[in-house]
């Protein structure tokens, strides 16, 4: 199975000049570097094929500076620099579109301590989990409507049933149905392009990303009657009292996976624990990051 990471650096470059920079949700650049390092190194521990899709600056950072052991690198994401940095998920979508063999795309803040199951790896479509009761999707749609953004028909159709304000979390996403991914990515870039003249408004970037990525993926999968296999079932998450964003999952008997999603990364305990993990398992990379930050 091929694992794919993607890093489009334009959203981070802008952050460097902001008063309260947002390093992929982490409170500082060092934690952002640690996150990519730990994520890559853990995937490499379990998979022989871990590829990176990035731009020139991403290559310089992850390959030349952090010396991360990706097995293949495509430096292609400068091609989407015409999109505003707030469309931070555009790099992921571009990476999905490039895939010509079955894949699992993982975010740079996803960490594994065991291989995925063969069932998941062999799925035609796969995702992290299904957010069945997630109000974020409703908010995402309401905000898009407020700003007059074009909303694709497939989503409008999907939410006619009020219970469908939900979607598949894309901490990991992928599968062997490459035709579906072409269709999904085409639809997603169409949404981004159709609203291109409206991005001057103060919209919430992550909320909008839900719409053109996770929400759209789920709506299209449902329309095409495609089954999506999830890493973990939503009910099992509550039954086992699992917090996906918890490094303690490393020490569980089952579900040795963590995704530091959303606002939680801002809290100091997450960066602290990320550092602890790197200190124990990859001290040479931690030292390298500390040297780069101090230089």
């Amino acid at each position: 199975m091929k694992i794919v990471h993607s890093l489009w650096t334009k959203p981070f470059k802008k952050a460097l000049h902001e008063k309260q920079p947002n390093y992929g949700g982490w409170p500082s650049k060092s934690f952002l570097y640690m996150s990519w390092a730990l994520s890559c190194l853990q995937f490499r521990k379990f998979y022989d094929n871990v590829e990176l899709v990035t731009d020139a600056a991403g290559y310089e950072l992850l390959i030349e500076k952090l010396k991360l052991p990706y097995t293949n690198v495509q430096v292609v994401l400068d091609a989407i620099n015409h999109y505003p940095e707030k469309l931070w998920a555009a790099g992921k979508l571009y990476a999905y579109q490039l895939q010509d063999t079955p894949f699992v795309h993982a975010d740079g803040d996803v960490f594994i301590w065991e291989k995925f199951t063969p069932t998941l790896e062999n799925s035609s479509l796969l995702a992290q989990h299904f957010d069945a009761t997630n109000g974020h999707y409703k908010h995402s749609l309401e905000e898009a409507e407020k700003f007059g953004f074009h909303i694709p028909e497939v989503i409008q159709e999907y939410v006619k049933d009020d219970s469908n304000f939900s979607g598949h979390s894309a901490g990991i996403i992928g599968g062997s149905d490459l035709e579906f991914f072409q269709k999904f990515c085409h639809a997603s870039f169409k949404v981004m392009d159709e609203n291109i003249d409206k991005y001057h408004v103060d919209f919430k970037a992550t909320s909008y990303a839900l719409l053109y990525e996770q929400f759209l993926f789920s709506a299209l999968a449902r329309q095409d009657q495609k089954q999506v296999t999830c890493l973990i079932d939503d009910n099992l998450l509550s039954e086992l009292h699992i917090n996906i964003s918890d490094f303690n999952n490393k020490y569980r008997e089952r579900f040795k996976y963590a995704h530091m999603a959303g606002f939680q990364k801002k809290r100091p305990q997450y960066g602290y624990e990320l550092r602890n993990q790197l200190q124990v398992d990859y001290p040479e990379h931690l030292e390298l990051i500390q040297r780069i930050i101090h230089d």
Partner: protein
């Protein structure tokens, strides 16, 4: 500067429309050299309007907790000392929670010297599910019991504070306090079991499983460490 260390105090005073007192006293405190924070915390908690306010106990407790947290923060020199311990504990924790997991019941533990247990009549800790303090929820509510830990770590946050805070359940608090002195897993388990009137083997099993889960969590958080 003072504002950075009193986010809860600001939130509750805003909710009670008393924020002008904070602004007035923090401006005065800022002109003092050495004792700005002591002066600020004392003068705010003994301010006449706050003393006679119907939520006086809540406000004063929040001020007290934030002042205590401020005082717990360490110097850079001390953080270097904590870092040396952290390196050892991180390695020990890895072994304890992986290869030695089955041996935990034979080991002794002690509470991390950089952890402080805190009890409060109010729910004052950050609500991770809502990504905010929910201090307003305390207003007009009867006092109840809440438990927290403050943990001094070897990293500074942007406010140059090195204190993490976590909520504890009542049972977690009870167990952690047992380890203020060096104690074996089995001794602590016996003490914990003694607070329940269990009757069946199944009930006993549930208590033991919960105890083990709590110990695992404490080891992960490094609230419990192995003696030197």
């Amino acid at each position: 500067m003072i504002e950075a260390y009193f986010p809860r105090t600001i939130e509750i005073l805003k909710a009670l429309k008393l924020i002008s007192i904070f602004e007035e006293l923090s401006a005065v405190a800022a002109t003092r050299d050495d004792d700005a924070f002591v002066f600020f915390a004392e003068s705010l908690s003994t301010h006449e309007i706050i003393l006679h306010h119907e939520s006086s106990d809540l406000i004063r407790e929040i001020i007290s907790i934030e002042f205590d947290k401020y005082m717990l923060r360490d110097t850079s020199e001390k953080v270097v000392e904590i870092a040396q311990k952290e390196r050892i504990w991180n390695t020990e924790r890895e072994v304890l929670l992986t290869t030695q997991k089955d041996l935990l019941k034979e080991l002794d533990f002690v509470m991390n010297p950089f952890v402080t247990i805190y009890m409060s009549d109010y729910k004052i800790i950050w609500d991770v599910t809502k990504d905010e303090f929910m201090l307003k929820d305390n207003i007009g509510q009867p006092e109840s019991e809440h438990y927290y830990v403050f943990q001094q770590i070897d990293l500074f946050d942007p406010n140059q504070s090195n204190i993490l805070e976590f909520p504890l359940t009542q049972y977690e608090c009870y167990i952690l306090q047992l380890f203020k002195e060096l104690l074996g897993f089995q001794e602590a388990l016996s003490a914990f079991k003694n607070i329940f009137n269990y009757e069946t083997a199944e009930e006993q099993q549930v208590i033991e499983t919960n105890f083990r889960d709590i110990i695992n969590y404490f080891i992960y958080k490094k609230f419990l460490v192995r003696p030197e």
